[in-house]
């Protein structure tokens, strides 16, 4: 015996998926799903919070906006784009996840992300650990001095900050200068050996951007702008992301 069909009553109430479609080229292909499940079968976040990428997209298509914008799964998905890569229709599910993140009131978003973003907004380093430019300069100078003295082959090694006209503008994850400064040295050595002309910037040196993960667009932009402006002012040719 077939069960009685579920009847959907009333008008289509979805606005969330339509809003996201408007933001994306080709509407992010959000209405092209074939329901094949290639996305979910290769997603490490499948099953967390009883959610998976296909389910998330189907829920969007069905207009279940409240469920979409309240599930904490959107903070567990890393927006790695493997679902898009696997998808025969190249549907931009991560953009939907990002939009769901952005729909949360800022103060309700994960505290760790809010905190890291706010730290980066405190000063011009744009470091998620809040390290001010002068502390960064001190650590870099201190470590450099130590290694130049201890390792004779590197007595001329440099780790410049704000060197105008340097070819590379190199950024630096805050973790090294703050918690394990010796880990900065191998990369300096490599750059020294190849004779690379490089510099850090006192402004915008930090490589991480938690405002982006927080889906706080204005702050994300502010952080990127600080780094780009610093690189331009120093007339650097290449913006080089650290490992």
């Amino acid at each position: 015996m077939a069960e009685e069909a579920i009847k959907l009553g009333g008008k289509r109430k979805s606005i969330f998926i339509d809003k996201v479609k408007k933001l994306l080229p080709e509407g992010g292909n959000l209405n092209l799903c074939l329901t094949c499940g290639a996305c979910s079968s290769g997603c490490p976040a499948t099953g967390l919070e009883n959610m998976d990428p296909r389910k998330f997209l189907r829920m969007a298509a069905l207009g279940l906006d409240e469920e979409l914008t309240s599930t904490p799964w959107i903070w567990m998905c890393t927006m790695c784009y493997r679902c898009v890569y696997a998808c025969p229709m190249k549907i931009d599910i991560p953009a939907l996840v990002y939009a769901a993140r952005a729909s949360w009131p800022r103060e309700k978003r994960p505290k760790g992300l809010v905190g890291s973003c706010d730290m980066a907004l405190r000063n011009m380093s744009r470091s998620a650990m809040g390290t001010p430019p002068e502390d960064f300069a001190f650590v870099v100078g201190d470590v450099l001095e130590e290694y130049r003295e201890a390792q004779p082959e590197f007595k001329d090694m440099k780790a410049p900050i704000d060197k105008k006209g340097a070819h590379f503008f190199l950024n630096q994850n805050s973790r090294e200068p703050v918690t394990e400064p010796d880990e900065m040295v191998p990369l300096w050595k490599i750059l020294h050996i190849v004779g690379a002309d490089w510099t850090y910037g006192s402004k915008g040196w930090a490589a991480e951007n938690y405002c982006m993960f927080l889906a706080d667009d204005d702050s994300w932009k502010k952080i990127v702008e600080t780094s780009i402006k610093a690189a331009k002012e120093l007339e650097c040719k290449v913006f080089l992301n650290t490992e």
Binding site: Y81, A86, K111, E183, V185, V194, Y210
Partner: protein, 167 residues
């Protein structure tokens, strides 16, 4: 960064070799960072990454994960997950990566991305993987013979005393 490492090795500016590992035969695998490979430059940069890795550890000591390159699984450390507070779920997410690494039998997983590095480091401890996680710069300097004793925080005991600069 990987493209420059590869370029500098090809141009002979970084005179790396894998002699240090000829007898040790320590096995390495590599994590393809989603942001750099799948989301930005594609397999071209993944190939550069492998060229660098094979040049410094020896081709016979490199074991790829399956799947890999643009088709690789995310480790679970990206997208803000490390700071988002859902630790249990993040580790559950990373189980896929842990199994992938264990299947290679490698002693080390090279993670030239900070998010991957932190996450995989934690996965190895949590799931008792016994594999270490290293930055690429550490191994580059090791193979150049310029890695000092204080620059080895992520090397295991097997490499603690190999080719120490200044020793």
């Amino acid at each position: 960064m990987y493209q420059y490492y590869a370029k500098w090795i090809r141009e002979g500016k970084l005179k790396v070799n894998s002699d240090w590992n000829k007898d040790l035969k320590i096995k390495f695998t590599v994590q393809d960072p989603c942001q750099i490979v799948r989301k930005s430059y594609g397999d071209v940069v993944a190939d550069d990454l492998r060229y660098v890795v094979k040049s410094i550890v020896g081709e016979e000591n490199f074991i790829d994960m399956t799947p890999n390159k643009s088709n690789n699984y995310c480790c679970g450390g990206g997208g803000g997950a490390l700071q988002a507070g859902y630790k249990e779920q993040r580790l559950q997410y990373g189980l896929v990566k842990d199994k992938q690494i264990k299947a290679t039998g490698a002693d080390y997983c090279i993670a030239a991305c900070h998010n991957c590095h932190s996450q995989i480091h934690e996965l190895s401890k949590y799931y008792k993987g016994n594999y270490s996680v290293v930055h690429l710069w550490t191994l580059l300097c090791l193979s150049l013979g310029i890695l000092g004793e204080n620059e080895r925080a992520y090397l295991g005991d097997d490499l603690r005393e190999v080719a120490v600069y200044g020793a």
